[in-house]
C-alpha cells in the first residue's frame, strides 16, 4: 500500500488508526517523509521532532493493541506554532531573545491534544512573538506559500498554515491576536478558526496581547476543526479568563443545512477598497449558501474604520508589558560584557528583538505613558466597546457575518516588509473579531487569477462556534470544487 497518509484528514487518520487499518507509526513515517520531501522548499518547520514523534506514535499503537481508547486524535500528526510552551524541544517564539529556551511545562491546549492521542511532529515558524502578517519577521527563516514559493504564507502563524497546505501535518496549532490564524489560512487555502475569547485556555501560550490572544487549529476540512475544538475547549483553572461554560459537541454541528439562516454582509467591508476579484469569490460563496436556503441581509458595523488604530494601541500596550520579562536576568539571551543593570536591559533587548517587536514595544510604552494614557489607551478601550456593540447590534439582524478574510491574496515576499503601515492593513478584516472577542473562521473559497487561494471569513456571536461550523460545513459540502494540492508542492 502506498504510504500517502500525509494527504489524509485527521478524522480519516484517526478512524483508520482506531480500526487498525494503519498504525500510528506508519502515519507518522508518512508525514516525516513528506516533511523531508517538501519542507526544504516550504520552510514551515523550525524544529522536527522525528524520533520523539516515532516514540509517541509507538506508544499510541501499543495502547491500541491493548484495547485502550486512545482518544479522538489517535495517531494524528500535529505541528505546533513555536509560541506554545512544550517540555520537548525549545520554545522560542522565533525570537533571538528566547533562542534555546526550554519551557519547564506543557501548556493546557498541548496537554489536551496529547491526552487525545495526538503525535507531535515539531515546532513551526512564525513572526517573532506573533507580531506580523507574513512570517517574514521570524528570526529563524522565511516560510514560503505552498501555492507560490515567491509569496508569503501570511502570518503570524505562517508556518502552521503552510504545513497544512503542504500536507506536512494533519492539524497544526496557531494563535490569533489580530488575524494570525485566519489570514494565513486564507493565504494558503486551509481552514483556520479563532474561537471566542475564553474558549481555549491561554496557559502555555506565550503572551503577545493578553486581551486579544486566542489559540486555534488549522485543518484540512471543517470536520477536523470541530474535532480539534472538542479536544481543546473548556474551562482551565490555570487561566482566569477561560470561560466557565459547558462545551458542546462541535461535531454535532456538521450538518449541511442553512435553511432560514440569516447571513449579514456588513456594508463597511464591501466598499470600493475591496479587490474586485476577491469580492467576486466571496459573492460566489454567498450564492452557494443562498441556494441552500440562507437569506442575505445588509448589516452595519459603523466603527470599523477605527479598528486598526484601536488594535495597534491595545495590542502594543499589552505587549510592552508582556515582553518586559525578557531581560536577560533569568533565562534566554543575555547581552555579553555589560557593565550595569541598565546596560544589561538595553543591550539584551536591542540585540535580542527584531525591528517589528522593538517598534511595537516602543509604541506600547508610548501609549501607556503619563500624559498620553487618556488620549490613547483609555480612548482605545472606549472605542473597543463601541466596536463590540456594533457586533451585538449586527447579530440582532443576522446569525453570521460573512466577509473576505483578507483584502488581497498572498503577497510577494519582501513586498510589504519595508512599509509597516501597509503590512498592518493586511489584517483590516480580521482584527475587529479579536477586539469584539467573537469567534471567526476562515476557509478557502477558490483561487484568484494568479492561482492563489481566496479566503472567506465567517463570524458569529460569542460562544456560537456551532453556527459557524454549520455554515462552514454546508459551504464545504456544496461549493462544488476541491482546493487540491498546492501547485508548488505537488
Amino acid at each position: 500500500m502506498s504510504n500517502d497518509w500525509y494527504k489524509k484528514t485527521a478524522h480519516e487518520i484517526r478512524d483508520a488508526v482506531r480500526a487498525k487499518k494503519v498504525t500510528a507509526l506508519e502515519v507518522t513515517e508518512s508525514h516525516l517523509a513528506r516533511i523531508e520531501d517538501v519542507d526544504g522548499k516550504v520552510k514551515a518547520f523550525t524544529d522536527v521532532w522525528a524520533d520523539a514523534a516515532r516514540n509517541q506514535a509507538k506508544a499510541v499503537d501499543a495502547r491500541i493493541k491493548n484495547g485502550e481508547d486512545v482518544g479522538v486524535l489517535a495517531g494524528v500528526p500535529i505541528g505546533l506554532k513555536d509560541v506554545f510552551c512544550t517540555k520537548r524541544g525549545t520554545t522560542t517564539c522565533c525570537s533571538k531573545i528566547l533562542k534555546g529556551y526550554r519551557s519547564p511545562f506543557d501548556g493546557t491546549a498541548v496537554e489536551r491534544l496529547q491526552n487525545a492521542g495526538a503525535v507531535f511532529l515539531g515546532k513551526l515558524n512564525m513572526d517573532e512573538f506573533a507580531m506580523g502578517s507574513s512570517t517574514e519577521n521570524s528570526s529563524v527563516q522565511i516560510t514560503r506559500n505552498p501555492w507560490n514559493l515567491d509569496c508569503v504564507p501570511g502570518g503570524s502563524s505562517g508556518g502552521s498554515a503552510a504545513a497544512i497546505a503542504a500536507d506536512e501535518c494533519a492539524i497544526t496549532l496557531g494563535s490569533d491576536t489580530g488575524g494570525s490564524i485566519r489570514q494565513p489560512a486564507a493565504c494558503v487555502g486551509c481552514v483556520g478558526i479563532k474561537p471566542t475569547y475564553g474558549r481555549i485556555s491561554r496557559y502555555g501560550l506565550v503572551a503577545f496581547a493578553s486581551s486579544l490572544d486566542q489559540i486555534g487549529p488549522f485543518t484540512k476540512d471543517v470536520e477536523d476543526t470541530a474535532i480539534a475544538l472538542n479536544v481543546m475547549c473548556g474551562r482551565d483553572p490555570k487561566d482566569s479568563t477561560s470561560a466557565d461554560l459547558a462545551v458542546p459537541d462541535f461535531t454535532k454541528s456538521l450538518k449541511a443545512d442553512v435553511s432560514g439562516l440569516r447571513i449579514g454582509l456588513p456594508k463597511e467591508y464591501y466598499t470600493d477598497a475591496l479587490n474586485a476579484e476577491m469580492r467576486e469569490k466571496i459573492m460566489d460563496a454567498v450564492k452557494v449558501l443562498e441556494r441552500q436556503g440562507a437569506k442575505v441581509v445588509e448589516v452595519s458595523l459603523p466603527h470599523t474604520d477605527y479598528a486598526i488604530a484601536v488594535y495597534y494601541i491595545i495590542c502594543t500596550a499589552e505587549a510592552s508589558a508582556n515582553l518586559a520579562r525578557f531581560d536577560g536576568v533569568r533565562y534566554g539571551y543575555r547581552a555579553p560584557g555589560v557593565g550595569s543593570t541598565q546596560e544589561l536591559y538595553t543591550r539584551t533587548k536591542t540585540d535580542g528583538y527584531g525591528p517589528e517587536v522593538r517598534r511595537r514595544i516602543m509604541l506600547g510604552t508610548y501609549v501607556l505613558s503619563s500624559g498620553y494614557y487618556d488620549a490613547y489607551y483609555l480612548k482605545a478601550q472606549k472605542v473597543r466597546s463601541l466596536i463590540r456593540k456594533d457586533f451585538t447590534d449586527a447579530f440582532e439582524k443576522c446569525d453570521v457575518v460573512l466577509t473576505p478574510t483578507s483584502p488581497t491574496a498572498a503577497f510577494k515576499i519582501g513586498e510589504k516588509s519595508a512599509n509597516p503601515l501597509e503590512m498592518y492593513l493586511s489584517d483590516i478584516y480580521t482584527i475587529s473579531v479579536n477586539l469584539a472577542g467573537i469567534p471567526g473562521l476562515s476557509m478557502p473559497c477558490g483561487l484568484v487569477a494568479s492561482g492563489l487561494p481566496a479566503g472567506i471569513q465567517i463570524m458569529a456571536k460569542p460562544f456560537d462556534e456551532e453556527t459557524i461550523l454549520r455554515v462552514a460545513y454546508t459551504y464545504e459540502q456544496k461549493r462544488g470544487f476541491e482546493m487540491g494540492t498546492p501547485t508548488a508542492v505537488k
Partner: protein, 478 residues
C-alpha cells in the same frame, strides 16, 4: 518660627496566606533561596496568574477592621518598571480602584484619643530579594518572596508628630495581629513602614514639600527618623533654605536621615488593567460572611476587660496589647479565678519571669490551666501568696502541675490553730529577750517574733493566723 508636622504613613504588610497571591508556591520565609518558586512567580513565558481567594478575604478583613468601604468591584493593574527583583518587570498591584478605601483607625497618643484617616488598602504581590554578598562581584536574586501577598495601607496626612506615628503603627500592628493575617515581623520584612513628612507654619493650612523616609527597621527607628526629619526641615526653612522632594533613608547608627533618590528621577509606572485577571467582585453576601468571621478587635476587648472584669484602664491595656496575652488571661479567668488577682499574677509575676528569660508567653511551661490551678490553691488557702511565687518559679522551670509541686515540697499552708499554737509557744520559750521587750511595750519586736514563727513553720503558716495566734499566746503566757 513654630511649625506643625504633617505626616502620612504607607505600610506594606505581607499577609500570611499559605500560598502566594498568584500561584501555589509556599510562603515559608525560612526556606532555602529559590526553593519556593514555580514558572508563574518566576515570570516564565506562557504563564498566567490566578488570584488567591484567601488573599482577598484577608485584605477585606483588614479593610473592615479599619472601617473602610469595601469595593464591590475592583481590579488588578500592572505597575511597570524594570528591576531584577521583579520577575515580570511589572508588579501586579491596584491603581485607581483599591479593594478597601476611606476608613479610619483611632489611636491614643500624648494622653488623648485621635482618629487617623485611612485613604486606601490595596492588594499586590511582593518582589524578590536581591543580595549583593555572594562574591565575585555578582548579585543574586532570591525569588522565594516574589509573589507573596502584600497589602499596602495608606493613611491620610493626619499624623501630627513622631509620637502619633508610633502610636498609629502600634495600633495597626496590634489590629493585624488580632486579625491573625500577618506576623508583622519587621526584621523579616513582613511589615514595612514609610513616612511622608512635611512641615508648615503652625496655624496655616497648605502643605509644605514632603520627603519620604524609607527602609527603617523598627517602630522606634521610625519615631526617631520622623523627629530628626521634622527638625531638619525646620532648620532648613529657618535658615532660608527649601525642602527638596525626595526619598530619604535612615541611618540608625548615626541617627540621621540621608538623601536616597530625588523625585525628578521618579518612575512613570504606566499602570494599566491586567488583562490576565478578571475583576475582583466582593458582593454584600461575601462581605457579610467575612465581617461575621472577624474576631473581637483590640479596642473592643480593652473596653470589655475594663467593664467585664473590673480592671483598670492600665491593666486592660497591658493584658490586651498582645492577642496571645489576652487569650491566656481569659482562659485563666474562665476557670473561675478572681479577675484582678489573675491580672496581677499574669502581667506582673509571670511577665517578669518571661522577660527575664526572654521567653514568649505561648512557649511557656506555665500554661493558662496551670496558672489557674495555682491561683485556686491560693484562693482556697492551700498556699500563701509568698509560697505561690516559689511554686510559680518551679512551674516555670519544670512545667510540673502546681499541686504536685506543693505536695512534693510539702508546701501546704498550716491552717491548723493547734499546730500554730504549739509552734508559737516554742518561739516564745526560745526568745525570752525579745518577748520581754515586746511586753515592755516595744510593738516593733512583734514583727520579729512573727518572722520567727514563720521560720519555725518553714513559711507554711497561714500568715494571718500566725499573727492572731501569736498575739493570743503572748497574752495567755504573760
Amino acid at each position: 518660627m513654630k511649625y506643625e508636622p504633617v505626616i502620612g504613613m504607607e505600610v506594606h504588610v505581607e499577609l500570611s496566606t499559605k500560598s502566594k497571591v498568584f500561584c501555589g508556591c509556599s510562603t515559608n520565609f525560612h526556606a532555602p533561596a529559590n526553593s519556593n518558586v514555580c514558572p508563574v512567580c518566576l515570570g516564565m513565558p506562557g504563564v498566567l496568574p490566578v488570584i488567591n481567594k484567601r488573599a482577598v478575604e484577608m485584605s477585606v478583613m483588614v479593610g473592615l477592621a479599619l472601617n473602610c468601604t469595601i469595593s464591590r468591584w475592583s481590579k488588578m493593574d500592572r505597575k511597570n518598571y524594570f528591576y531584577p527583583d521583579l520577575a515580570k518587570n511589572y508588579q501586579i498591584s491596584q491603581y485607581d480602584l483599591p479593594l478597601c478605601h476611606d476608613g479610619f483607625i483611632d489611636i491614643k497618643a500624648n494622653g488623648t484619643s485621635k482618629r487617623i484617616g485611612i485613604t486606601r488598602a490595596h492588594l499586590e504581590e511582593d518582589t524578590a530579594r536581591n543580595t549583593h554578598t555572594i562574591g565575585g562581584g555578582d548579585s543574586g536574586v532570591d525569588f522565594n518572596r516574589c509573589g507573596v501577598t502584600l497589602l499596602e495601607i495608606v493613611t491620610e496626612p493626619d499624623i501630627r508628630g513622631a509620637e502619633e506615628a508610633f502610636a498609629y503603627l502600634t495600633e495597626l500592628k496590634q489590629l493585624l495581629r488580632y486579625l491573625d493575617v500577618s506576623d508583622c515581623n519587621m526584621e523579616e520584612g513582613s511589615l514595612r513602614a514609610e513616612a511622608n513628612i512635611s512641615i508648615r507654619p503652625t496655624g496655616t493650612e497648605s502643605f509644605g514639600t514632603k520627603t519620604e523616609v524609607k527602609n527603617v527597621a523598627s517602630f522606634s527607628g521610625i519615631q526617631k527618623a520622623i523627629e530628626f526629619e521634622i527638625a531638619r526641615q525646620a532648620k532648613l526653612i529657618d535658615e532660608g533654605g527649601k525642602v527638596v522632594q525626595e526619598t530619604r533613608g535612615w541611618d540608625a547608627d548615626r541617627g540621621i536621615t540621608f538623601s536616597q533618590r530625588a523625585k525628578e528621577s521618579a518612575h512613570d509606572y504606566r499602570y494599566f488593567p491586567d488583562p490576565d485577571l478578571v475583576p475582583i467582585v466582593v458582593d454584600e453576601a461575601w462581605e457579610g460572611r467575612i465581617r461575621e468571621s472577624l474576631p473581637e478587635l483590640p479596642q473592643a476587648r480593652r473596653a470589655r476587660f475594663e467593664s467585664g472584669y473590673g480592671l483598670s484602664a492600665y491593666d486592660a491595656g497591658v493584658l490586651t496589647a498582645e492577642k496571645e496575652m489576652a487569650d491566656y488571661y481569659e482562659a485563666v479567668v474562665k476557670q473561675g479565678c478572681a479577675p484582678k488577682q489573675a491580672a496581677n499574677w499574669l502581667s506582673v509575676e509571670l511577665q517578669a519571669l518571661l522577660t527575664e528569660h526572654k521567653q514568649e508567653l505561648t512557649a511557656s511551661k506555665v500554661t493558662a490551666d496551670r496558672l489557674a490551678a495555682m491561683l485556686k490553691l491560693i484562693e482556697d488557702g492551700t498556699i500563701s501568696g509568698k509560697i505561690a511565687k516559689e511554686v510559680l518559679l518551679d512551674m516555670f522551670e519544670s512545667g510540673k502541675e502546681p499541686k504536685a509541686i506543693v505536695e512534693e515540697k510539702n508546701l501546704v499552708q498550716i491552717s491548723d490553730t493547734s499546730a500554730i499554737e504549739s509552734a508559737a509557744r516554742e518561739v516564745i520559750a526560745a526568745n525570752p529577750g525579745p518577748v520581754a521587750e515586746f511586753r515592755s511595750g516595744k510593738e516593733k519586736t512583734f514583727g520579729f517574733l512573727v518572722g520567727q514563727l514563720m521560720k519555725a513553720t518553714k513559711g507554711k503558716a497561714n500568715p494571718q493566723m500566725a499573727n492572731e495566734v501569736l498575739r493570743k499566746v503572748l497574752k495567755e503566757t504573760e
